[in-house]
């Protein structure tokens, strides 16, 4: 399943996309610990797979939650994306 967490508003589209089929194969879920803002949580999806999701409390503030990892100049690869061994995560902005 491709899960898009985030929102679209007057400022643009701010979605973190997780491929839960890939995510479900990962035991350690290192992206959760890699995020300095605690954006991610681990949950069981409706089909019984244990996957990473964006925390409900942070879903509508992603632009601001992720801002620290997205400087305007030279942008390093994102800690969450870098930590994911399965390449299951992307950001839309």
């Amino acid at each position: 399943m491709i899960a898009h967490y985030g929102y679209q508003d007057a400022e643009g589209e701010f979605f973190i996309t997780i491929d839960t089929d890939r995510c479900g194969r990962c035991d350690g879920k290192p992206c959760v610990a890699a995020c300095p803002r605690g954006v991610f949580t681990v949950e069981e999806d409706p089909y019984g797979d244990t996957v990473v999701a964006v925390d409900d409390r942070r879903r509508k503030r992603l632009r601001y939650e992720c801002a620290g990892c997205k400087p305007a100049g030279d942008r390093p690869s994102l800690p969450c994306v870098r930590a994911c061994p399965w390449g299951a995560m992307t950001h839309s902005w």
Binding site: M1, I2, H4, Q8, D9, P46, K60
Partner: protein, 297 residues
């Protein structure tokens, strides 16, 4: 001086239904799905995995109260009691607060399952236009979600936005869709990024001399453009199915179809109950699974 009570143009009809040709006492498994949404709450009863009865009410201040109101409607209609139900699944915005539900399942998964039942296994893309959010969902032939996106940051493109416009224009909400076609020329959309901006813009257009119908058309187009953008993010594959209260607004539905170039699948069912129906179908599968009779959950 007594003031006449103000008409509530946004208020949609609550109601209940039960299949007159069936009786729950003849069923082996009776399951209940409860969808507590931000604007409406629905209770659906399935007998052996088939739709039997439902009730739709306006969501109250609390999730439990809303669920109880919805259940009361379906119980009064059918003569069922809570003790007659084998398994209960809660879904929707208030699903985590339902102490009597055996399990809570996301509304994304429940709408996928409900749309699969209503539209059949050929349904691949679902648009749920709810009270305060909008979801674009892709499913497989069993109704299992393969791709989804939910936008609940803003009321634009949701039922609440439509209620605001109904009240502003003093037009009953069920008349908005048909009246949006009673115009000489399709107007440009009003703001589609914020319901407050859209309301201000609608008021400005009225002052410019636009007819109410033209303003309604501009708002319906704004909603259609907004949700079409969400749909395009997950990709549209026929068959296309629309659930949620706004699916009853033909003015929005026809404009979405025009933008994405795909017709929505017709259905005899009330698509507002898709989430609760999906929950009741999950409840049926989960009950059988718990009893050692595996079903696709």
């Amino acid at each position: 001086m007594m003031m006449a009570p103000r008409q509530e143009y946004w208020r949609w009809a609550e109601g209940s239904w039960a299949d007159p040709d069936r009786h729950w006492k003849d069923a082996r498994v009776v399951t209940l799905g409860i969808d507590v949404g931000s604007v409406s709450s629905e209770a659906v009863v399935c007998l052996d995995g088939e739709l039997y009865a439902f009730s739709t009410v306006r969501t109250a201040a609390g999730s439990v109260e809303s669920a109880e109101n919805a259940m009361k409607g379906v119980f009064e209609r059918t003569g069922l009691r809570f003790d007659d139900i084998h398994y209960v699944v809660g879904t929707g915005y208030g699903r985590v607060n339902l102490p009597f539900a055996h399990k809570a399942i996301t509304e994304i998964a429940c709408h996928g399952r409900g749309a699969n039942y209503m539209g059949g296994p050929s349904v691949r893309t679902i648009l749920d236009m709810g009270g305060q959010d909008c979801k674009a969902i892709r499913v497989d032939e069993r109704g299992k979600v393969t791709n989804f996106l939910m936008n609940d940051k803003c009321a634009a493109g949701t039922g609440r936005g439509m209620e605001v416009i109904a009240d502003l224009l003093e037009v009953p909400i069920e008349e908005l869709g048909p009246r949006s076609f009673d115009i000489d020329e399709e107007p440009a959309a009003v703001s589609d990024v914020c319901v407050v901006f859209a309301k201000s813009e609608a008021m400005a257009r009225l002052k410019d001399g636009w007819s109410k119908n033209k303003v309604i058309a501009a708002y319906c187009r704004a909603m259609a453009e907004r949700v079409a953008a969400l749909l395009q993010r997950v990709g549209v594959e026929p068959e296309f199915f629309i659930t949620g209260g706004i699916s009853k607004n033909i003015g929005v539905v026809r404009r979405i179809e025009e933008i994405i170039g795909v017709k929505a699948l017709p259905t005899p069912y009330d698509t507002q109950i898709a989430g609760a129906l999906g929950a009741a179908l999950f409840a049926h599968a989960l009950y059988l699974k718990a009893r050692g009779k595996p079903q696709a959950a």
